[in-house]
C-alpha cells in the first residue's frame, strides 16, 4: 500500500529544474552564483578586495545572528530577544573592556557567559510557565533591553583596546578573520546537529516533542539548552559586531537583528515548524541577503529603497521554498 519515494530521476537538467527539485541549499548556491555573476558584470567594483572584505565582515555577523535564531527554530520555537541580548552583550563588553579594563579573553568569556544567562532565563520562563516562546521572548526582549538601557543609557563606548578593532580588520590570508570565526562557529554547530546526541535530541523535540518525551528525551532540558546556546551565539555576534565597528555601539544591534535573524535560517531551509536545521543553508541565506545589499549599494541604487527590496526578496525566497515543497508533495502523491 505504501511506496517509497524516489527523488525525481530523469527530470530535465535545467536551472529551474535544479532550483525546484534539488535541495534547498543547492538551489541557494545556484541563485548566489547567478547574482554574483550579474553584479560583477554590472560593476567590477563588486569583486574588489575592499568590497569582498567588507561583505565578508558584515556577513560574518549576520551569519552568527542567524545561527542564534536557527538553534531555537530547530525546536519549533523562536527567540525574539536575539537583538536585545545583542544590545546587552555589546554594552557589557564595552563596560568590561573600557570601564573595568579587564583583559580581553576575560571580557569575551564574561560576555558570552552573560548571553548564556539571559538565554537561560528565557528557557526557564518558557519551560516553567508553559507559555509559548513567541510571547515570552517578546516580553524578555523588552525586559532585557529596557533593563540594560536603564543601567547604561545606551551610550556608545569608543575607548576600547585597539586589539578589538584590529581583529575586526584582520584577515587570514584572503579571508577576513571575522568570517573565519563565523565559519568555525558554523563548523561546531554542524557537528552538534549532525553528529551528537544533543543535536539529535534538539531535532526530535522540534519534530515531535510528544514522541520525544515518550522516548525518554528530557524535553524541558533541551529547550533550556537551545535558549542558552542562542544567548551565547547572540553574545558572540555582538562581540563580532563590536570588533567590526571598533567600538561598542548598542544601537546597531537590537531591532535591526530581528529580520536578519529569521531571514538567513528560513531562506536556508530551516523550517519554522521545527525538526530540521541547516547550518550551510543559514550561511548561504545570510550570504544571499548581504550579497543583495552589497550589490544594490555598489550599483548605487538609492539606498533608501534597499529595505524595500530586501522585504520583497524575502517574500520571493519563501514563495520559492513553498512552491518546491508543494511540488514535492504532489510528486509523492503521484507515486502512491
Amino acid at each position: 500500500m505504501t511506496t517509497q519515494v524516489q527523488s525525481s530521476s530523469g527530470a530535465s537538467i535545467s536551472i529551474t529544474g535544479l532550483l525546484t527539485r534539488g535541495s534547498t541549499q543547492f538551489g541557494l548556491l545556484i541563485i548566489l552564483s547567478v547574482l554574483w555573476t550579474v553584479f560583477a558584470s554590472l560593476s567590477p567594483g563588486f569583486l574588489s578586495t575592499f568590497n569582498l572584505n567588507s561583505l565578508g565582515r558584515s556577513v560574518a555577523v549576520d551569519v552568527v545572528v542567524g545561527f542564534a535564531q536557527m538553534v531555537v527554530l530547530a525546536t519549533g520555537g523562536m527567540n525574539l530577544s536575539v537583538g536585545a541580548i545583542g544590545v546587552c552583550s555589546v554594552m557589557l563588553a564595552g563596560y568590561f573592556l573600557q570601564v573595568l579594563g579587564l583583559p580581553i579573553p576575560l571580557a569575551i568569556a564574561g560576555t558570552l557567559a552573560f548571553g548564556g544567562v539571559l538565554g537561560w532565563l528565557n528557557g526557564i520562563a518558557i519551560t516553567k510557565t508553559g507559555v509559548n516562546s513567541f510571547v515570552v521572548t517578546l516580553a524578555t526582549a523588552s525586559l532585557f533591553s529596557g533593563g540594560m538601557l536603564i543601567l547604561s543609557h545606551g551610550v556608545p563606548l569608543n575607548g576600547l583596546p585597539s586589539e578589538i578593532g584590529a581583529f575586526g580588520k584582520a584577515t587570514v590570508g584572503p579571508v577576513p578573520a571575522l568570517a573565519v570565526v563565523a565559519l568555525a562557529i558554523g563548523g561546531l554547530l554542524y557537528i552538534l546537529f549532525a553528529h551528537s546526541v544533543l543535536g539529535r535530541q534538539i531535532l526530535s523535540v522540534g519534530a515531535n516533542s510528544r514522541a520525544a518525551e515518550m522516548s525518554g528525551i528530557p524535553v524541558s532540558r533541551v529547550i533550556v539548552f537551545v535558549h542558552v546556546l542562542s544567548g551565547v551565539l547572540a553574545a558572540a555576534a555582538a562581540l563580532m559586531l563590536t570588533a567590526r565597528l571598533g567600538a561598542a555601539m548598542p544601537a546597531v544591534a537590537g531591532d535591526d537583528w530581528l529580520l536578519p535573524s529569521f531571514l538567513a535560517p528560513v531562506i536556508g531551509g530551516t523550517s519554522l515548524a521545527g525538526g530540521a536545521a541547516s547550518v550551510i543553508g543559514t550561511i548561504l541565506g545570510a550570504l544571499l541577503v548581504s550579497t543583495i545589499r552589497s550589490g544594490l549599494l555598489i550599483l548605487q541604487f538609492a539606498s533608501f529603497w534597499l529595505q524595500f527590496f530586501l522585504g520583497v526578496f524575502l517574500l520571493a525566497a519563501i514563495l520559492l521554498q513553498r512552491y518546491r515543497s508543494v511540488l514535492s508533495a504532489r510528486e509523492q502523491t503521484r507515486q502512491a
Binding site: G146, L314, I318
Partner: protein
Amino acid sequence: MKPVTFLLREQWSGILLAVVLGIVALSIANPTFNTEFNWFVLLRSICVVALAAFSQMIMLGVGQMNLSVGALGGLVAILVGGLMDAWGVPAIPAASIAVLVGGGAGLLNGWLTVRTGINGFVVTLATASAFTGINLGLTRAVPFYHLPADFVAFGNGRIGAFPLLMIVPIIVTALLAIFLNRTVKGRHLLAVGGNSNAAELSGISVSRTIMLAHCLSGLIAAIAGVLAVAQLGSAQPTIGSDWLIISFAAPIIGGASLSGGSVSITGTVVAVVLIGLIQNAMVLLAVDPYWVTFLLGSLILAAVWINRIRTVRMERAQ
C-alpha cells in the same frame, strides 16, 4: 451574577485595579498629574496606542498575527502627510485615501498568507520590511511638515481635558465591539480563531475570513497612522517604528487567548490606559524612559503567567 463575581472573573480586573491604584499613587506623588493639561496629554497619548493595539487584537482574534502593524501605520502616516504637504490635498480626502491604502495593504497581507499557505508570521515580517522600505524610499528620512491648519488643529484641540482626537478611537472601539460581538462576520472571525478546522467544516470560508481580518487590521493601523500625524503635527517617517511590542502587549495583558478566538476589547482598552499611565508617570517623575520598556516586558510575562494558571485551574476543575 453579582458585580463583584463578574469583576473577579474577568481577566482585566487586576489591571483595572492597577490603573486605579496607579492614578491614586501618582496624584499623591506629583500634584501636576491631576491637572487638566496633564490628563489631556495622557488621554491623547493613548489614542494612537489603542488603535495599534486593536489592529493586532483582531489578528489575535482570528488566530494569526500581523508583524507589519507599525510599518503599515508608518507608511500610511507619510502617505497622508505627503498628500497634504506635497500635493496640497485637503485633510479629509487625504486621510480617506491613506486609510483605504492601509486597508489595501492589509488585504495584500491577507492574500499572501492565504494564497501561498506561508505562515502569517513570515509573510508580515517580510511585508513589514517592504512597507518600511517604501516609507524610507519616499521620504528619504525627511518628514512632511506643511500640513493644513484644520488638520493640526484637530490634533491639538480639546474640550477641557478631553482631546478631540479621542473621538476617533471611541468610535472605532464602539464599532469594533459591535462587530466582534453582534455581527455574523465578527462571530465567524472569532470562530476561525477559536477552531479553524471546526469553522471550515461548518461551511465558513477560513481563507476569506483571514483576509477580512487582515484588511480590518490594516484599516485600523492606517487610522492609527493618520492620528499619529495629527498628534505630532507632522508626518515623521519614524511613526510606527515602536508599535510592534505595544500592539501585542496590550491585547495580551488585556486577556487575549494566545491560541486565538478569544479577545477582550475592554481588557485591551484597560491595558492601553495602564501603559499610557506608566509612560505618563515616567515623564512626570522624571524617571528614565527605558523603565517603560522594562515594565512592559514584565507586565506581559505576568499577564500570560496568570492566564496560564487560570487555564490550568479551570481544566483541573472539570
